[in-house]
Symmetry: C2
Subunit: 334 residues, 2 copies
Amino acid sequence: MVTMSDVAREAGVSVMTVSNVLSDRRPVGAPTRARVLAAVEALGFEVNLTARHLRAGRTDTVALIVPSFHDYFGEVADEIAPLVEAEGRHLVLERTSANPEHEMESLSVARLQLYDGVLLSVAALDRDQLDRVRTPKPIVLLGEHEVPDRFDHIKLANEEGARLATSHMIEGGSRRILALGAAYESAHKMTTDRRVGWETAHREAGLPVDERYVVPVTTYSSQGAREALLDVVASGLPFDGVFAVTDVIALGAVAALAESGLRVPDDVQLAGFDNLDVSSFVPPGITSIDPNHRGVAQDAVRLLHRRMADAAAPAEHIVAPVRLVVRGSTRGGR
Amino acid sequence: MVTMSDVAREAGVSVMTVSNVLSDRRPVGAPTRARVLAAVEALGFEVNLTARHLRAGRTDTVALIVPSFHDYFGEVADEIAPLVEAEGRHLVLERTSANPEHEMESLSVARLQLYDGVLLSVAALDRDQLDRVRTPKPIVLLGEHEVPDRFDHIKLANEEGARLATSHMIEGGSRRILALGAAYESAHKMTTDRRVGWETAHREAGLPVDERYVVPVTTYSSQGAREALLDVVASGLPFDGVFAVTDVIALGAVAALAESGLRVPDDVQLAGFDNLDVSSFVPPGITSIDPNHRGVAQDAVRLLHRRMADAAAPAEHIVAPVRLVVRGSTRGGR
DNA sequence: CTGTTAGCGCTTTCAG
DNA sequence: CTGAAAGCGCTAACAG
């Protein structure tokens, strides 16, 4: 391995001068600089980032820690990456597998030390577990959980979004709207928040809230949603609308409705949440709640930068606004 | 910050003993061990991974470097993660933004030094650029490009997959099949390989190959595909089948066909490539070529482990087999 | 503008 | 089974 002292010897300067040329932290005379760069080139030197990190106490790297790499998180990550890079830092993704044990491990101070800042999308940790995370590292939490006040946090307007989607379907004539993937008690606070919004929409319209229309799913996948909805159809419970708590769930619903011979939106209106890319392409277009991924990404990075600049700043808690995007899966679109 | 020497002092042992307890590299007497662990607990010590990395020359971390975080790569990453973790290493994702400049930078030896091994999904680099990557780091290349022989490499059976999908639609009665997203000359070798498979299917069936049916897309997104296909419809070119070079492209085709009032598969058969989750849920189900993500992930991790164990092993070049998954978007399914 | 010194926190090596 | 010394490769701080 070629080290800085090899380069220094080759160029006839001190190690410090090589360091200064490469990091631009102090001015170096033009001729000296040229000799150093020539030596770097000749020897094929590349700085050892691990050594730099240890000495400088800085890695110029931000981690985004997510439950899984695909779907929602992949889309958000692609929004965050350019914002982090714009500040001259690298973004790396790690995943926790939505497994509380792994999630705690990802949060171990040891692992966090590798980064200058961390964006953590909490999936399975409750407030108490988060409270045990004691680190001076700048952390911004993303996600729908309740978190200790001392953390910066961004969540979506879950109730509001669910209410908007449900009201929209009520206005379109639906009277028996399933809340697919929603729950009364759940490790995922998001599913209960969105259930509440679904209830609120009913109350506002003077419609009764029937618990049988809250349909949980066993696995939060399209497949799980498909099976759950097919079970409802088989049970004979009449319905004319489906509010899916996420677009991934809505996708499973689309499949189940098609297989059951139910037409969207004629027989059943359908709305989702997250506004994934796919929702605008699946015919007839899935009405969804747009959480403004880009805006959330910007807020997240802004909070993290603020926190990295000032560890003592008061924690900020943002509820990101959402909006309804009407497509062909509900009446009133097109 | 609490360091090992703080712990050593607290426990009344040497720094070395603390290190041995924590890394399990040398046996430590039970009572000593207990004192050390108590001190670790009392002080809240966490090992400094950067220092460990520098000294040990090892990070126990593998990087998967991909063009973007979403869709295809996110799904593959979720398959790879558990395999890497099973060997006691961490997986991190970095992205190159499918931009040749960034891709070269991600490949800088400096950045690679941070990892014990790298899985690199080449998107925009040609063989010459890859040939300039000179590093002793274990690297396994993934993707459809041609790569220098000295690299381990896994690619899909692109021609074969395209041929299978196209032949299947020909058997189902299609005679005018668009190759949507395919190309004659392209930075993406994949798009030309799949075009060749489309041609082969025609030749085998004794059908003419009409260049007008090769429809490039400007951006490799569903939206780009949707627009390209709407343009074809508007042009009046008759067609009764669409081979989409990826499922993301196929999704855009589904939207465009629906908007044009063309029924799938009655008026137009449709097949994609990649077998993304979404393809099984979009009605009527998109016939696709399954690249066996899990198998590719296993091969990739196997090659990387072999390379990490033996830097001098001969490079292996794997063409991963694919299979046709028939769904409702083609006749002969269901 | 350039150099010298010291040391980041850990683990390898050698010694007991 | 435990310890002391040395140093991984780099940069902050201080000197000239």
